[in-house]
């Protein structure tokens, strides 16, 4: 009888001076769901990399099925039956789901080696059988990139099970799912548990941990801060251990008092690249002193709508900002008119990650006085403006000329906000503002958004975290397949929001 399906004993791992794991021990048994929680940078991902054989620990050892093992690489961990479902799905988007299922372990009809003919019939039979066992339906011939996200996730889980995975590691699996899909996922995970599979569930959502896990371990600053059976603890207790005993900064829900319309969109449509949904006939408005949330399952056109409004994507239809027609204008003209943009992709689009903090803070203002005098940049003015902007949002940094990429996720995002808010826009388009930001950083960013709203600013907010939308927004619009399918008050039941998010037949 196996007692430890996957275990870590006194794992230590450091990267230069950073002690990522300082003696972590935890284990998961067959048929058990063990949740691992902690803030970003607490050491969860390092531990997972060790358990998957991607990193070698400096000391300590890994146990699989009650045996000590030493992984030479990820292939060894895979051979031992350890499989991980990543946050970014590991499916090749242009291959079919069936091709993705068998990739790396193809059933063979004839021949051997690389030129062996793949037996697609038996591949499909295997896929169908596995899908049935965990209670889902899959159209195996669909292109993976065109399948809904939760199906992609399920296929990835099926792929691991097919290859004999006995320990399943799920890394923040619910981040991209709608509430109903989360329920489906949890049902599926519970069925897998019944088969005796051990499950490590990485999450930062305490509610999900409480409802799914059998056991929870909190990692803080590279050490185990807390570990208990779910039945013997509470959500509050877990939360307090995540943030070092201190009471976590909680968001006070405070609604705004909307004034006159700032953004008015009428009949906006935009074609998009084939991998997402085109926008179709979108009309809405955002008022001064109001945060409007845009909810939807990832990939239903929310990001595309933000890009269309900011001028980064071509669109037709009418866009007015405080009565001024901006239709057809490019991004620079729209910025000048008073639209600020916080990109969902901080590293590629939100910041010039290799450039300095100073340059990132003043970017966009470098073409006019006082920073530009028409010929060159005034270094002293640049420094003065940057310092002032950074202190306004209390960004923590070493020196102005440090790479912005050297800051933590939360401080990087504050730099983005410092830059966008400094030019006093009337409207902020904000996408995924707290992705990769730790708990206290999240509270600070929420504070920035509320302050902006309370000062009369209008905000359109996209987030995959429904909690975040409900805490911040005054109204929530739901988007499905490039259309807005409903608008609800911020206090609406999240099941109602979830129902709209997975509404079928909303598209053309």
């Amino acid at each position: 009888m196996t007692t430890i399906a996957l275990g870590a004993t006194d794992i230590r791992k450091s990267y230069g001076p950073v002690l990522a794991n300082q003696g972590i021990s935890l284990s998961v048994g067959p048929g058990e769901i063990h949740a691992v929680v902690g803030e970003n940078g607490a050491g969860k991902s390092t531990l997972m990399r060790v358990l998957q054989g991607i990193e070698r620990p400096d000391s300590g050892h890994v146990t699989v099925m009650d045996r000590d093992v030493s992984f030479g690489g990820p292939a060894d961990a895979l051979a031992e039956g350890i499989g991980m479902v990543h946050q970014e799905f590991m499916l090749a988007p242009d291959l079919s789901l069936l091709e993705n299922l068998v990739l790396g372990d193809e059933p063979v009809r004839w021949g051997r080696g690389a030129l062996a003919l793949i037996d697609w019939k038996s591949a499909e039979a295997q896929g169908r059988e596995l899908a049935e066992r965990i209670g889902i339906e899959v159209d195996w011939h669909r292109r993976a990139g065109a399948a809904p996200v939760h199906i992609q996730q399920f296929v990835e889980i099926i792929r691991l099970l097919r290859r004999g995975t006995r320990v399943l590691i799920l890394d923040e699996p619910t981040a991209v799912l709608a509430p109903q899909q989360v329920n489906e996922l949890f049902d599926l995970v519970r069925r897998i548990r019944e088969d005796g599979t051990a499950i490590l569930f990485i999450s930062h959502k305490i509610g999900e941990v409480m409802s799914l896990a059998d056991r929870v371990t909190v990692i803080r600053q590279g050490k185990i801060a807390f570990s208990a059976a779910i039945a013997e603890t509470t959500g509050e207790e877990i939360a307090s251990h995540i943030v070092d005993g201190a009471k976590p900064v909680t968001d006070e829900v405070k609604r705004g008092t909307p004034g006159k319309a700032v953004l008015e969109v009428t009949g906006l449509s935009a074609a998009t690249v084939e991998k997402s949904h085109p926008l179709y006939d979108i009309s809405f408005s955002v008022h001064a002193g109001e945060i409007v949330g845009l909810a939807g399952v990832a990939g239903n056109g929310q990001i595309e709508l933000m890009e269309a409004l900011s001028g980064l994507r071509r669109s037709i239809g009418r866009v007015e900002l405080a009565g001024v027609d901006l239709s057809g204008l490019g991004a620079d003209r729209r910025r000048a008119a008073g639209i600020g943009y916080v990109s969902p992709d901080r590293r590629q689009e939100g910041l010039a990650i290799e450039a300095s903090i100073e340059e990132n803070t003043i970017a966009g203002s470098h073409r006019s006085r006082p920073i530009s005098n028409g010929l060159w940049l005034e270094r002293s003015a640049m420094k003065r403006v940057a310092l002032e902007r950074l202190s306004r949002l209390s960004v923590k940094y070493g020196a102005l000329h440090d790479r912005v990429g050297s800051l933590s996720g939360g401080n990087q995002q504050r730099v983005v906000f410092a830059r966008e808010i400094a030019v006093s826009p009337q409207l902020l388009l904000v996408s995924q503002p707290t992705r990769g930001v730790d708990l206290n950083g999240i509270a600070a960013i929420h504070g920035i958004l509320r302050d902006f709203r309370d000062a009369g600013g209008a905000v359109l907010l996209v987030s995959e975290e429904l909690d975040e939308l409900q805490v911040l927004s005054d109204r929530i619009m739901v988007m499905v397949r490039g259309r807005i399918v409903g608008t609800l008050g911020a206090d609406a039941d999240r099941r109602e929001i979830g129902r709209l998010m997975v509404m079928e037949g909303a598209g053309a």
Binding site: A114, L115, L117
Partner: protein
């Protein structure tokens, strides 16, 4: 007239098609092979030298293919293992191949530009001369060489190879999402290397065909940009075998027509630019097509 254009068009299509076959497999694995030109030239040079030395077209063709395979494999290592930029490395290889061949020609044979060797064995004709009496395609059949047949067979087999074999699936997965390959325990770099060696093999065959199809003389300008035309062909055909073959045939026929027109008295240099101009037009058209799809 049509007969002749058809016949010489097919002869001119073959080297482009052979190179494009390798290039499209290579690109499906995620490597844009800009060095087809250099590998074709190396193949042609090796083919002439070995053909003169052994008197066997088969030995010469195999030697050309293997030499280019080796070059292709080494080339891929600079990209996969040393992190070279594939475009820069490819351009570098083209320059290196031309330079090294020029050096070898003057050092070993004391000739510059053109290499004439005695007893070069040319590619045989597959059918007896009597097929020339067949209407329309008679001349084409009479001129048919084994490498053209190989190219056609390869194009016919390729879709099956890519969709039904492990190797094909791995190649497509590598080009589409290399991290996925790694996550399922496969080695995408190895696949990229294999596909580049494959491209080298076919570029070598293309070179051998250029050198041994009719003249049996090596010239530094022998490939005349055909490696790049092949590149354009599989871009235009979006890496799909049949579409790529159609593009190659179009370029080959244009080339043949262009040679005909020169004899009619039109300015030869201007007409000579026609196939390259068509490549440009083809690329613009295909790009516009894909832009329209995304907007």
């Amino acid at each position: 007239m049509i007969e002749q254009i058809l016949a010489s068009g097919v002869v001119l299509t073959t080297p482009i098609l052979l190179a494009a076959i390798g290039g499209l497999v290579n690109r499906q694995a995620g490597i844009v092979n800009i060095a087809l030109e250099g590998k074709m030239l190396s193949g042609a040079f090796v083919a002439i030298v070995i053909s003169a030395a052994t008197g066997s077209w088969l030995a010469a063709t195999l030697a050309a293919a293997l030499a280019s395979t080796l070059i292709g494999w080494c080339f891929s290592l600079t990209i996969t293992r040393l992190g070279a930029n594939m475009i820069t490395a490819g351009l570098g290889l083209n320059v290196l191949a031309a330079g090294a061949i020029g050096f070898l020609m003057s050092y070993a044979y004391g000739s510059s530009g053109t290499l004439r060797l005695p007893d070069v064995a040319l590619l045989p004709h597959v059918f007896p001369q009597s097929v020339e009496s067949v209407p329309l395609v008679g001349q084409l059949l009479a001129n048919l060489d084994p490498l053209t047949i190989l190219a056609v067979v390869a194009i016919a087999v390729l879709p099956f190879l890519l969709s039904a074999t492990r190797f094909g699936l791995w190649i497509r997965a590598t080009g589409n999402a290399a991290p996925v390959m790694r996550s399922v325990g496969l080695k995408p770099k190895l696949l990229q290397e294999a596909s580049t060696a494959f491209a080298g093999f076919f570029a070598g065959l293309a070179g051998a065909q250029l050198a041994l199809a009719s003249i049996g003389i090596f010239n530094e300008g022998l490939t005349a940009g055909r490696g790049f035309i092949a590149l354009a062909a599989f871009y235009f055909g979006r890496d799909r075998p049949w579409q790529t073959a159609a593009a190659c045939l179009l370029f080959g026929l244009l080339d043949a027509a262009q040679i005909r027109m020169q004899t009619v008295g039109l300015p030869p240099r201007l007409i000579g630019a026609l196939p390259y101009l068509m490549v440009l037009v083809a690329l613009v058209v295909s790009q516009m097509r894909s832009l329209r799809r995304t907007q």
